[in-house]
Symmetry: C2
Subunit: 336 residues, 2 copies
DNA sequence: CTGTTAGCGCGTTCAA
DNA sequence: TTGAACGCGCTAACAG
């Protein structure tokens, strides 16, 4: 193992001061061209690598961005992570991805880590568990730029990128009503999270507008999964009044619904209509193809990154409340 | 914005030396209990956060691990990232995820970044593009622990976690032969990557063993996608001799095959048998259900992390070649 | 038990 | 155009 070479090492060998080497490496014009070339050549040859810890300790610069998501392996988040990573890379930033596992406690510890490591900024979609926002307030106190996307903290003033959940769910509900469905259930997550609360509201408001009596907001507190989809659907189906349509907040849950429905011999779309948030890679293969709500992941990532970058560059002040909304879209297929 | 509080600030207020504060914060037993409690109380109250850049600059410790994958949003990698992130979290490490986008150039720059930031270790699955391994050799030169998983560099001596690609593909091929298929094609990636090369070999060897003449290794140099699956399949299907079965290295490609096959009115498994690497979330819903090869993502992550941690703790030397193999499994369904 | 001193690698003064 | 000196925040070695 080679000892790491430093600017002082280079300075010693070339008989110049290490500050000259420092300047040469950063192409400071105030350094003799010949000296600079010698330094650069030597540095390249000996594989000199800047020690970013030293740079960051001085407070000069910092090119690391942190990203906190509930789950890395959900396609919605995976797509956003992938896109953000690319955007960051192209602008010379490094992205560290953290997973809260939907747990407030973990999220809190992650935020501490981020502060300790002096990240230049943070992009977050909060855990289902998160009811307290003190840790994000702390981030602001330390002057670290913060942008929320999708799942946000309502009581923190900072830029946020949100999806039109209320409107799109209302539209989906209305579409089902106009298709003739009258017992529409809504499978979604805890209402302490804006995303699920807004979907609930959109759903309930439309049902009330049409004077429908069957209002079934099914709140799934557990993590979304195929298994939980099966269980919850099965439970609902054994009630006296069965749903004739479902709007589901998760493809995992929807998959569970489809499997359980098949077990019961339920025909889609005749016996049961279905609209799901999120699409499956194989959505085109499934018979019938499922009508789904597509969220613009790439756009969310682009806007979130742009806002964060502007905060890092002080073009947006910390504590400034900016809300951007992107439009989800219903992709009409054959499941209702 | 609050100015960040340091051990010196605390020392000044409490009239002790900052080294005492440092000791108190790390529960050094050589510090007076009362002094320690005062320090801890003050630190907590004023939301003191260690500056990890300073800690790492001194070289004392480092709890950051880097992970490089070709794509974050492929379920195989997303699952492994998710698992590694959790393992790391439980052991007090922080994971930074980097995406090479299958590009050698990006991978190289990522490695430089990793060196500059003094990561404690690196876990890598290489890009399809990567033909040169100098950047990984550099990592070793700098004394940074390195573990490969799945896609590895053969010429770098370091711990590696591999899947039994040769054997599982051979088994899959033999299974198809015994099912009566005789024109079996193999859709896979560039043979410069061990994973795809081994699959090719397993496939070819079995065909030769059975004296089969139709040997069609279809090497897809492009990124795996539904679109490319459609294109390649369509091209192959318009040859004079058509395949009656396909083994595919990617669910994305397989999805393309299925869609294109349906367009042509090809029946599965009667006209065409199919086995794919990787499963779909919705695999159970598809008719017919597709036989697939499942790779033990969680086990891969666990072994890779364990090996890296041992390297960080010097229980395994840098440069030591250790190869661990995990077993993929064929999940038999109805597509052949 | 506590204080002093030194230095990790770097960039930015200020002086020459 | 270059050098000398300083300090970012922290910990370790040494001294008391």
């Amino acid at each position: 193992m080679k000892k790491r070479i430093t600017i002082k090492d280079i300075a010693k060998v070339l008989n110049v001061h290490h500050s000259t080497v420092s300047r040469a490496l950063r192409n400071d014009p105030r350094v003799n061209a010949k000296t600079r070339d010698t330094v650069l050549a030597y540095a390249r040859e000996h594989e000199y690598q800047t020690n970013m810890n030293a740079v960051q300790l001085r407070g000069t610069s910092n090119n690391a961005i942190a990203l906190i998501v509930p789950n890395i392996n959900h396609s919605f988040f995976a797509d956003i992570i992938s896109q953000l990573t690319n955007l960051a890379y192209n602008k010379g930033y490094v992205i560290s991805v953290f997973q809260s596992n939907e747990k407030y406690q973990q999220e809190k510890e992650i935020v501490n880590t981020i502060i300790q490591h002096n990240f230049a900024g943070v992009i977050v979609s909060i855990a289902k568990d998160t009811i307290n926002s003190d840790h994000f307030a702390l981030l602001k106190k330390f002057g670290i730029p913060l942008v929320f996307f999708d799942r946000v903290c309502e009581d923190i003033f900072t830029p946020k990128v949100k999806v039109n959940n209320y409107e799109i769910t209302a539209n989906a509900t209305e579409y089902l009503i106009k298709k003739g469905y009258s017992n529409i259930a809504h499978f979604t997550g805890t209402t302490s999270i804006n995303v699920f609360r807004e979907r609930q509201n959109g759903y309930v408001d439309i049902l009330q507008k049409y004077g429908m009596e069957y209002v079934q907001p099914i709140v799934i507190e557990e993590d979304f999964s195929v298994e939980i989809g099966k269980i919850i659907f099965s439970r609902l189906w054994n009630f006296s009044v069965k749903p004739d349509a479902i709007i589901s907040s998760s493809v995992h849950v929807s998959t569970g619904i489809l499997l359980e429905a098949r077990k019961y011999g339920i025909k889609i779309p005749e016996d049961l209509g279905l609209i799901t948030f999120g699409s499956l890679l194989s959505s085109e293969i499934i018979e019938p193809q499922i009508t789904y709500i597509e969220q613009p992941e790439l756009e969310i990532a682009a806007i979130a990154f742009d806002l964060l970058e502007k905060m890092i560059k002080k073009e947006i002040q910390i504590g400034e409340l900016i809300e951007r909304q992107v439009q989800a879209e219903i992709i009409f297929k054959k499941s209702c």
